[in-house]
Amino acid sequence: MRRVAIISYGMTKVDRHWNKSIKDLFSEATLKAINKVNIPKVDAIFVGNMCASDLCDQNNIGTVVADHLGMIPIPSYRIEAACGSGGAAILSGFMAVSSGLFDIVVVGGVEKLTDGVGKKATFSLGKAADFEYELFYGITFASLNALIMRRYMEVYKVPREAFADFAVLMHRNGAKNPYAQLQFEINRETVLKSEDIADPIKLYDCAPIGDGAAVVILCPLEDASRYSDSFVEIAGIGSATDTIDIASREDLLLLKSILIAANNAYKMAKVSPSDIDLAEIHDAFTIDAALSLEALGFSKRGEFDKLLYDGAFEPDGLIPVNLSGGLKSRGHPVGATGVYQIAEITMQLLGEAGKNQLKNAEIGLAQNMAGVASNSYVTILKRCR
């Protein structure tokens, strides 16, 4: 198996891109990535996307973006794993290069949620859950997470305010990220006084609806220096699934797919959680942040708030979390989110993160998931010198 490098990245700002289509967004991010490096060709495109069939009335996204980029006839296809589509695309690109089938691949994600209005977008996103046993009965992702958040607060006696304070931290980070959708700071009251979405979840516990595209370019590690002066290695990657409905789980507060994916990624990269310098985690709702940090091994179960108030997740803390602002502030263009995370970690490791730059970052972790972690992708990147 060949070792795999990321030699470039490109992103659009996450926003309500009213006047741009999925083609425009994906091409913008891809051309940014391609223009940074000196590559002779692209062998294939893997594009993560969840909702285009529902909200943009478009299938066959792989061909759509390849055609728009003028890259026909290379292989190009869509990877769909709900909100984990981006992470799944990264895994697919990794497999393609490490296997030796392709040498240079574009791995991206694109989503245009603002083409869907109201219930249409909510319903489309809800399809990440079990249609027969959850969605059919009117449940939404917010309500699934609300059930879990209430349970978490009851079992671990974690105060409601802790979740609000995590959102505050995310906005503080996102305010300095030019790619973030919500580039402004908030306070605890902003969260607690915001609109009820699904009790106890408030509006500011949720990631916003937005559009965006992110792209990275992969190649064999041994060839990376031919195309770029700076690059990172995908040192570990893991993926796992869990039950599609949350009622079938033995423990509602343990996101097993993250735990398994993370353990596989740590094992492949030969690192442990304490070796990780920074992490981008999947905080679609603030409760997801708590459960993700615990499943990744950064926090003991039920102690998310203790670490939060110890400053562990701050930019100068033990494990800086979501320097991009996370899904909460950077935004969550669902099928692209997993690729945004990889691009953001790459940017940090290459020292190109601007106002959010972390000093001396060597190893970063990205965790992307679908639904309530019904599938998960954990990727560990290492800086190359």
Binding site: R16, W18, N19, T114, V117, S194, E195, I209
Partner: protein, 352 residues
Amino acid sequence: MRPIIDVVISGWGSYIPIYRLPVEEVARIWGTSADHIKQELLIYEKSVAGIDEDVATIAVEAAKNSLKRSKINPNELGAVFVGTETKPYAVKPTGTIVAEAIGATPKILAADFEFACKAGTECLQCCIALVGSNMIKYGMAIGADVAEGAPADPLEYSAGSGGTAIIVGSKNYEKEPVALLEGSVSYVTDTPDFWRRPKESYPSHAEAFTGDPAYFRHTISAAKLLMEELGLRPSDFKYAIFHQPNGKFPLKAAKILGFTREQVEHGLIVPYIGNLYSGSSMTGFSAILDIAMPGDRILLVSYGSGAGSDAFSFIVQDGIITKRDNAPKVMDYIKKKRKIDYAIYCKIRGKI
């Protein structure tokens, strides 16, 4: 745009139904937060047309009030236009009902206009054109609606009922002009932010798309265009009125353009009666005419989804003083109210 002949406002009048549905009532039914609506949208209650009221009755009441102020003989009217998106009849003009009711028939042009919430000012533009080209002596422009938001839709908190009539005439004929038109512009693009298909009871909207690319783009562009054409700045105006789908949007548009809150707040009526759609900006303008003094310059900017804005600049004249008290003021109607609960709302609006 400027007419060949100077055009003035001769009279104005509004009508707002007595019933009010507080946001607490809508929030109670749907389990939402009334405080959130009040804080975020600056809407406290909305006016609701009674069981025997519709756009025709509202338009007639407003027209009669405008005639009380104008003091012209209705036969001097050469046009009655009604701008609305809630016509009582799909086919049959409301303009004829109003013209007949006020005694202005038969030698008169009558029609209904539709351009979502800017139909009223569209009527005003057309009356200005007819008067300004000397085709008619006086024209009456009415903006009125009995707006409806679908149950549980955010618009249900704000969609109100009411309207305003404005009579414009030639400066050559009008003895006591209320305000002189300095100029106007219209700014229109094909922007589908809000619509209602035939035979549908409630409108659809594209949520956040109704903001920046729709309302703000058009209101701000129209206002800038007008000020550029007239060589004016925000500080040259005493008052500014922007279409009021909620309380937040007009305040934000004003701020972006460089107007102060003081210039806008006197015409901000949406917190108390909701969004009157075609009657919204015109009723805000009516509220300003109720208090303005000779020499005051007023900016009026409408917005209609689909989308477009009309912007007007007026300078208040001496006639406003003698005419003002001849009809009920907007604030009189706002104060004269009877609160209803959601059940009565459903009954009188034919939802049950």
